[in-house]
Amino acid sequence: MDPSNVESGEHFPTALETAAGPHLLAPGASTRRMMLDVLIGLVPVLAAALWYFRLAAAAQLLVALAVALATEWVICRLRGRASSLSDASVCITALLLACSLPPQLPLAATALGSFVAVALGKMAFGGLGQNLFNPAMVGRAFLMICFPASMTQWTEPLTVHATTQATPLAAARFAGEFIELPRLLVGNVAGCVGETSAILITLGGLWLIVRRAADWRLTAGMLAGVVVVAVVEEVVRGADQSLGWARHVSAGAVLLGAFFIVTDPVTSPLSKSGRWLFGILVGLLTMIIRLLAGYPEGVMFAVLVGNAVTPLLNRWTTPVPVGGHTRRAAGRKPADTGPG
């Protein structure tokens, strides 16, 4: 008898397919899903932006978005690759860039920044997952260098006719004026398009963390770094000469950075301990720039420096396997035993 006759065809009408294990996939494990969760988390942030800066914010967001999408599409075409727009990560880059720009920035500058963010910040490295630096921050840094004046022109929120006003951090730094906390929390202050409302940013950010689109260690690390330095400042300078930790956290880009920027998986370290170090480093650097350097705000540079040391952090925090590193001299093949 031929053993292949053992299979009696008629029981099995279905076409069976082959594939390597694991055959199950964790619910929601998809890059697209993760990016969509970030976009959902951005909704309250964008709502605040549109409420406080009206058409100016809308224009910034739309221009950044359009240019970023077009740039990625064209570059994918030029490289002869399938379009990578469907993973939605380019939308996040564009929206975060727009959120970190002054509302009255000339739209041509916005377009240029958006192009640089996607072309140089992301695609030049090879696209999704390959970039060393956070693309939105690359775009913003480029604009900061090209248009230092327009990048530090701020307008009062809720006004149609823009009048120039200092941001809370600039006011504190250069004029010694401290804005009271409640205004910072609701966001009725001058600042970048999407950075003003502490409450709404936190709301969106918590969504990311609940959905695990962002690792809470990065957020907590950065906030811890900021708070520690702010408390030290308060002790050294005295409470009436310093902003205090609560206002340092809610003013400027700290919350947007902690929830949406340092949490970018691509440009933050791989291991949990690396992520803690990265978050803390960015928090500390932000405060050092705020307090000691020439700029009133330091999130962008802190993130870029943090990105630059990420490969190093990855190397330092390579996990040690359970049971220690492989004994090379032992000459034994490691046992290949799986779960029973």
Partner: protein, 468 residues
Amino acid sequence: MSIADCLAWLRGEASFARGVHPPTRKSLAADQPIEILPPPAMVTVPLQQHAGAAARAICPPRSRVEVGSLIGQEDESAAVSARVHASLAGRVQPLVGVTLPNGRHSLAVPIAGDEVHSRTNAAEPQGIDWFARLYGGSWHVEDQQRYFPRDIRAAVQQAGIVGLGGAGFPTHLKLLPQATRPAHTLLLNGCECEPYLTADQRLMVEAPAAVVTGLLLAQKAIGCERAVIAVEENKPEAIAALRGAVEQLDDQGRTTVRVCQTKYPMGGERQLIPAVFGLEVPTGGYPLDVGIVVLNVATAAAIASAVLRGHKLTHRVVSISGEGIREPKNLLAPIGTALSELIAACGGLADDACRVIAGGPMMGFAVTDLSVPLTKGTGGITVLTRRQLAASEQTACIRCGRCLDVCPLGLAPTRIAHAVRHGQLELADQYDMMACCDCGCCAYVCPAQIPLVQYIRQGKAQRLRRTD
């Protein structure tokens, strides 16, 4: 530590770091009592069902064999090999080559069963009640006192017992005490952490006495003081049954049942040993390096039945489960039965079945040819439908680190996969590629859907070829 881990810690369950929580889906077959598969018309018994060298066929074609007749002699020239026995009464056919459930190839001995009327008899019209013979009835603890360690090992060797959890290491070698590395504890692995599989669970519920008797025999052979049976918390019936059987021993707490968190891959020995004892097995070493011998519960039951009842390892309990199976069941089936026969005995495949997996969905192998024979190490067949498989598209690695967060061995899967992909085996080695146990947690959570396990397996295979 995740919230689930914290709760498990509060409940006092043994656990390990990282890992994943896939839906367990045990309920499909968990309450189905073990049924005996009527003897098939034909079995194909592979000569390589174990780690080490294949057995040597010793029966010429057309010779008659009974259930339990030796048909494959172990390869005496090899350090590691095991015997193979006929699982059906009938006539031996010429050797054939078969694909095993794990995708490897082996020679196999086909046995054409006797005519149907002679396979059954009036007393047992459904065929012999193998469950009662192998594991049922009462087990007398005193019986095992009569055996010396070397008798136990000899009986285990003669019965061709190998690890039934899947690794297939010959059990008589595990039972050999090592002067340089004495074992202090026998760990009986009843975790069965793969989703869907319920064969071990049913065996623990229906034959706890056989399991415990096997444990005592193994303990005697190894000469170790203590024994622990580890069972995941989602099998309360099994825990109660084993506790009942252990209580009857009255051995002053030298044998205990330890409840473990329900978490994948709890049943991997490198997870289970840290969870239960807090000891780490050195990478590249063996559990014996920390004084522990690990056996599967089904292996223990087979030891009992071999030593005290003289049965060879010819049958095993296998669960046939999954949404793609009409009537999920636990079957006691002869080794060498074609998977198609097992599936047919469970009502066949559902219309939307699209993947048949030998083993569980995390580490099992997809098979397309259902003539593949059941082997000693196959604890289950899982059939999934398109709905369970719902996959998302593959993208580039977004370096999210989730694979590191879940790897139970604390490796950096994305790094290893990346190195293998670029042919940098040295680099992969620096990331301890060879320590990977193929558990699949990393690929299970990867949002970019990178086939991490495939890359790592490929790297390990290349690495082994290079060292050989």
